[in-house]
């Protein structure tokens, strides 16, 4: 019976159900915490058996996109299942997890029309407004990292009015812009005068550089460069497979 609805479909039904739900999550229509329809509701909507819906939801749960709770339903998960490398997205959380006291200091914040350099850095073509932020993170009152960030206001208009004097922009973004993709580039430099002063290390000391570029559904969110003292910091990534 339900095969009727499957007549002109290219993908199979359970994949369509999965894709439908995934799309609503990724576009933010169903934000983290949102309860997605019960299985029996989806059964009614798609006119299929429960096993079909269950397969779609199971795969979404396996991908950590949703969390399934008996008796309660299925809920969109908060994106907290990141690999260790990405977890440094929230430096505050990282430092607190290490049991050290976290310190944050906003050095500069500018709202401006995107310059050519800004557009290049964000990988966007059209002009628009951006926020440029400079700040410093510390652990136990020792400089931990300096951050140089650009936020694309076309994608995240709220960031124009967010108060970054108390909350670090990485944490703010993590809570306001869920489900992004990111690309990291890791390299090493030696500290120049400015960096050495900001990190309280010697000029010429090694620094770890992390450039992260973040987007959601083809919209650039933010570009950030983080500088860590190279001898004191460790990025740990653990993988399974080959």
């Amino acid at each position: 019976m339900s095969l009727a609805t499957n007549a002109a479909d290219q993908p199979t039904l359970y994949k369509r159900i999965r894709a439908d739900i995934e799309k609503r999550i990724l576009t933010g229509e169903w934000p983290p915490g949102h309860r997605i329809p019960f299985e029996h509701e989806l059964v009614a909507r798609y006119g299929c058996s429960r096993m079909t819906v269950n397969k779609a939801l199971s795969e979404l749960a396996q991908a950590d996109l949703i969390e399934r709770r008996r008796r309660a339903g299925s809920f969109v998960r908060r994106p907290q299942h990141l690999s260790a490398v990405l977890k440094i997205a929230d430096i505050r959380a990282e430092i607190i997890a290490l049991g050290r006291s976290y310190g944050y200091e906003l050095i500069g914040r500018k709202l401006r029309a995107a310059t050519a350099a800004d557009r290049d850095r964000l990988g966007v073509k059209k002009a628009g407004k951006v926020v440029a932020i400079n700040c410093r993170h510390s652990a136990d009152n020792v400089p931990f990292a300096v951050e140089d960030r650009l936020i694309n206001l076309s994608s995240v208009p709220n960031a124009a009015t967010a108060d970054f004097s108390r909350e670090p922009p990485g944490s703010w973004l993590l809570h306001h812009v869920p489900w992004t993709e990111a690309e990291h580039t890791i390299s090493a430099i030696v500290a120049d005068d400015r960096t050495a002063e900001a990190l309280n290390i010697a000029v010429g000391a090694p620094c770890l550089v992390i450039d992260r570029y973040t987007w959601r559904s083809a919209r650039t969110i933010t570009a950030v460069r983080l500088l860590y003292p190279g001898d004191s910091h460790r990025l740990v990534a653990r993988f399974k497979g080959g």
Copy 2:
């Protein structure tokens, strides 16, 4: 009827099937390319319906542990689905992928009983033999990275007789020891005299350091430290999720 076999089990049947197969793959009993039993054979062995074994196999396929081919069967996959950060496990493949000519040079190779330092580095308690290898990778005849590696012969006895004068140990291991887990630690240093000479860079130039520790099923395989010129190398990792 099949519920009878499920009587004293803690995990559910499909999870047990999945775990059974996963174990044989991870221990190497079923190497890459091996055809695992057909669904109908597993149905007979576990006395359950096909949907149950199908669920187990589908999850293994989703985890990229096996590949399913219609009419042919299901096969253990070669571990080639690594994240970008881990892909540097095979520097030769990385350089060739960049379209550059790969060069390899074995600097030193020692077979010895594990010293206290070796055991500490490998994270093993019992004494045993190890191979210590020093080598250099180059791209277009320019030094690309120097490698300092320790292989635990208790886990990989074959490595004692492998010819590392032509094949880099990372590539050799990748082809002889499938399905490992790894932990990376990334940091930055400045080049000392020896490093500077090996990489043909200036003393005091920044270097990216990657320490990788690899194991399989609680058995340590190898520990390696890679040094890259920090200004010329880029580690790129791309993630999906928050």
